[in-house]
Each structure stands twice: as structure tokens, then as C-alpha cells.
């Protein structure tokens, strides 16, 4: 299935130029693993980097060639094996985890699994919300990036299914309701804690440590 919600050009450029923090690179790579359109956009952004590299005028380099030629026969470590395949988690997440995530239940309808990358001290996490869960409206002190990996939900700003990237900047206030028939697993990368809009949301945040 083709995703309907994509990552922004700004995030793609940061990834292509190599300036994205690792958690954001993980998010972009995970979406791109599930989205052929964004793989093509990324290829174009990387081609820009290639063109810039190609535009540099070559210059002589004293003895570097001789030193490099002398090392061509050095033994080479084998390339790392591809990560194990997973029905839900995309290859970049599996590369990081190596196996099944360790889920921890934080409230009755929410489990999370921390990933070994952080953004401003906030770990990137996998979240698993029970079918029918409601996430109360909230805003963010920074970016919040959510990639749906299984199940789906209806938010104020659209419908989100597997592969869809839900990117909220600090100006966006949103809440959402998970489909009644299946739990929803997402990759969640946040710059800052979320700011609840209601008492119910405050209780939710207090419980979940969000």
C-alpha cells in the first residue's frame, strides 16, 4: 500500500545532507523504507549532493594515491548481514534492534519500547496503542514525528495507516482515535515533551511519562 502522508522536504534534505540527528534519520529512513515516492525524492536530494561534489575542481594530492594503492589487498571485514525481516517493523528499526522489541506497559492501553537513539534527551520509541484508544488533544513544545507501522487511526488532520508519516510542528494541536478493530504500532520521535490541552490529557501524560 502506498502511504498518503509523507515526510517534509526539509527532513529529506537534512537526511540527504547528513545533518539530521540520528533519531530523525531513523524516522526518515523508516518512512522511506515503506514509501517508494520518498525513496525517489531522497535519490534526487542525494543527487544534489553528488552534483555539488562533482562541481569541486580536482587538485593534485601528493603521495595519497601510492599510500592507498599499497592498502588495496588488506583483508576486509565482511559486510554486515541484512537485518532480520519483520512483518511490522521496517529494516532501519530492525537494524537498530536486532530482534523483537522489549515492550513495557505504561497505562492499560499503551505499551512502549525504547530504541537506543535520542533526540534532545528524548528516546525514540515504538508505541503500541490498544484498539479503540483515544489520545487526547495536545500540542508540542517541539516537533513530533509519528510513523504508523501497523493498524491505523483517525486524527483531526486526517487518516493515518501503515507507512503514513504524521509530522506535527509546535503550532499543531491534535488528538486521535485508534481504529476499533486493531491495535496501532508506531515509531515516535519527539523533540520535547507534549503539552496536554485537557485535564484528561494531563492525567494521560502523567501516567505515560510523556
Amino acid at each position: 500500500m502506498t502511504p498518503h502522508h509523507h515526510v517534509s522536504g526539509e527532513l529529506l534534505t537534512a537526511y540527504a545532507a547528513g545533518t539530521a540527528p540520528e533519531a530523525i534519520a531513523l524516522f526518515v529512513a523508516s518512512h522511506a523504507s515503506l514509501c517508494a515516492a520518498c525513496r525517489a525524492r531522497l535519490a534526487a536530494e542525494e543527487a544534489v549532493g553528488g552534483a555539488l561534489l562533482g562541481a569541486i575542481a580536482p587538485a593534485p594530492l601528493n603521495d595519497l594515491l601510492a599510500r592507498t594503492l599499497a592498502r588495496l589487498d588488506e583483508p576486509v571485514a565482511p559486510a554486515p548481514a541484512p537485518p532480520p525481516r519483520h512483518a511490522v517493523l521496517p529494516p532501519p528499526v530492525m537494524r537498530l534492534l536486532g530482534g523483537e522489541p522489549t515492550w513495557r506497559r505504561v497505562v492499560p492501553n499503551l505499551e512502549i519500547a525504547e530504541l537506543p537513539v535520542r533526540l534532545n534527551g528524548n528516546p525514540a520509541v515504538l508505541t503500541r496503542l490498544a484498539a479503540g484508544s483515544v489520545v487526547p488533544p495536545h500540542t508540542h513544545a517541539g516537533w513530533e514525528l509519528q510513523l504508523v507501522l501497523s493498524g491505523g487511526y483517525q486524527a483531526d488532520d486526517g487518516r493515518f495507516d501503515r507507512g503514513d508519516a504524521h509530522c506535527a510542528d509546535p503550532s499543531v494541536s491534535h488528538g486521535f482515535r485508534v481504529d476499533a478493530d486493531a491495535p496501532c504500532v508506531s515509531l515516535l520521535v519527539r523533540e520535547a515533551r507534549i503539552i496536554p490541552k485537557t485535564l484528561r490529557g494531563r492525567v494521560f501524560c502523567w501516567f505515560t511519562g510523556a
Binding site: T19, A51, G54, P83, P90
Partner: protein
């Protein structure tokens, strides 16, 4: 034995061979002359790229060597249907620069697709080397203020807010210049189709 057949391999004027064929000779024949040719085309560019990104000259020398060795070792993994040789080398430089510059344990998470995921049909027929040439032409034509922000992002490895601070511009202006530049180059890349 009578007259020995000449042992010299066929003479190849590597300087006139396109990038893609040079890489193929490295991958398939482990041809050292082909490697020396690719080295002469790219090593100093790689080094300039690394120094622009803030690496000390001696570190840049070491890393240039590592990157060129990686090209030698990974040549058979180069896929001409996915990127031009220059773009492929750029992505290797990018990963190595991230490894070298960041103090935290950070690496570029690579896009990986489960095997068997089909390549979209409109991507199959693309001539990456030809579009790379079109892109270089478009790049030379960019307005200087757009070229400057691209340089900051891709070469100096700076975030949009760092570029904004240095060039004393609002972040929004830097972002829109990058978008305009990338959009213009993307059009050139796809053969002029918007």
C-alpha cells in the same frame, strides 16, 4: 616455446572511460589502473568535501584514503540504476563524515528495503549519469544566494538554523532558499518535466 604472445593486456586509455565503466572494471576485474583513474577523479574532491565539513587536514587525508578503499571494496555493490557514480561516492562521504564528526555514537541510518520490494517502473529507465550531467549544469546556473545555502547544508554539514545564524538571515528564508534550489534542481534531474 616459439614467439610468445604479448603479455601486455590491451591498453586502455582510462582517462576517456566514463565513471560507470571505471567502477565496473574495479568491481568485475579488480583493475588497479581503473582504481587509480577513479582516484585521480575523486580523491581530491572527497578531501575538499571533508575539509569543508570541518575536518582537520591530516584527518581528512586519512578519511579520504578510507573512503577510496571503501569504493574499491564495495564497487560490486554500486547500482547504476539507483544513482550516478558521483552521487554514490557522495553518500559514502556523507556516512564517513558523520562517523568522524559526531562525538555521540551516531551513524547514518540507511534506507533499506525488504528484498523483493519492486523498483517503481518509472525509475527503471532513468539514466543516472545523464541526469547527473543535467544537474551539474543546473547547479552552475543557480542564483548565488541559493547556491550558498546548499553549500552550507551539504558541504559544511550545517543545520538550517546554523546557516541562518551565519548568514544573518531568518531561518524561514534559509529554508525557502533550500526548497527553491532543490526544486529547481529536481526539475533539471527529471529532464525538465515539472
Amino acid at each position: 616455446m616459439g614467439l610468445a604472445a604479448p603479455l601486455e593486456p590491451a591498453y586502455v586509455d582510462w582517462a576517456s572511460v566514463p565513471d560507470g565503466d571505471v567502477v565496473r572494471a574495479i568491481a568485475e576485474d579488480r583493475d588497479r589502473e581503473a582504481f587509480a583513474e577513479l582516484f585521480s577523479r575523486y580523491a581530491s574532491r572527497v578531501r575538499t568535501f571533508l575539509v569543508a565539513g570541518g575536518l582537520a587536514p591530516t584527518l581528512a587525508d586519512d578519511l579520504t584514503q578510507e573512503i577510496l578503499l571503501e569504493i574499491w571494496r564495495r564497487a560490486e555493490r554500486y547500482d547504476p540504476t539507483r544513482a550516478s557514480v558521483t552521487t554514490w561516492i557522495f553518500t559514502i562521504c556523507r556516512s564517513r563524515r558523520i562517523d568522524a564528526l559526531r562525538r555521540e555514537r551516531v551513524h547514518l541510518v540507511e534506507v533499506e528495503v525488504d528484498p523483493g520490494d519492486p523498483v517503481p517502473s518509472h525509475e527503471l529507465g532513468l539514466d543516472r549519469e545523464r541526469s547527473a550531467t543535467a544537474l551539474r549544469v543546473a547547479l552552475a546556473d543557480l542564483p548565488p544566494e541559493q547556491a550558498a545555502v546548499l553549500d552550507g547544508a551539504y558541504f559544511a554539514g550545517k543545520s538550517m538554523s546554523q546557516i541562518a545564524e551565519e548568514q544573518r538571515l531568518p531561518v524561514g528564508t534559509v529554508k525557502s532558499r533550500v526548497r527553491l534550489a532543490v526544486e529547481r534542481l529536481r526539475v533539471a534531474l527529471s529532464g525538465g518535466a515539472p
